[in-house]
Symmetry: C2
Subunit: 87 residues, 2 copies
């Protein structure tokens, strides 16, 4: 059995451009109400930090990619990005 | 009046360590059910992308910091990080 090492990944899931973002819109309106007039647009996304054990970086990336496609992102309307950030 | 330039900021809001994260727990359980046994822990955070006009980097950072404290993060239980990512 291959040795597995602890790794940490940061996954960001964002709405594709063109997809309406009512939550982002609400935040922008709230910021305007608070006096932050300089705000032009807000988009809200998700940040998912995953700690996992993997045999190497390549295997970890493949597994994280599968997780995004199967559960973490809705690829019809969302983009995702996986960053490995160390153990 | 000073010139203002378009800027884009990426704000990440994460739960402080020690604060329970039931949403992250639920994601970890779902990943285990899908066969991703290598997953040890999941934490869910927020990603907020803000487009704004600012006179400079320093002024933008000060304004974004105020937005986080007043609206975007609950600093009792959450940490936030602001990154400027260009126009």
């Amino acid at each position: 059995m291959e040795a597995r090492f602890p790794m940490k990944a940061r996954i960001t899931v964002t709405l594709k451009s063109g997809v309406l973002d009512p939550q982002g819109r609400a935040i922008a309106n709230a910021l305007h109400s608070l006096g932050f007039e300089s705000v032009e647009d807000v988009r809200q996304g998700k940040l998912i930090e995953v700690q996992l054990k993997a045999t190497g970086e390549e295997q970890a990336r493949a597994e994280l990619d599968a997780m995004c496609k199967q559960l973490l992102a809705n690829t019809v309307i969302e983009n995702y990005r996986v960053e490995l950030v160390g153990g």
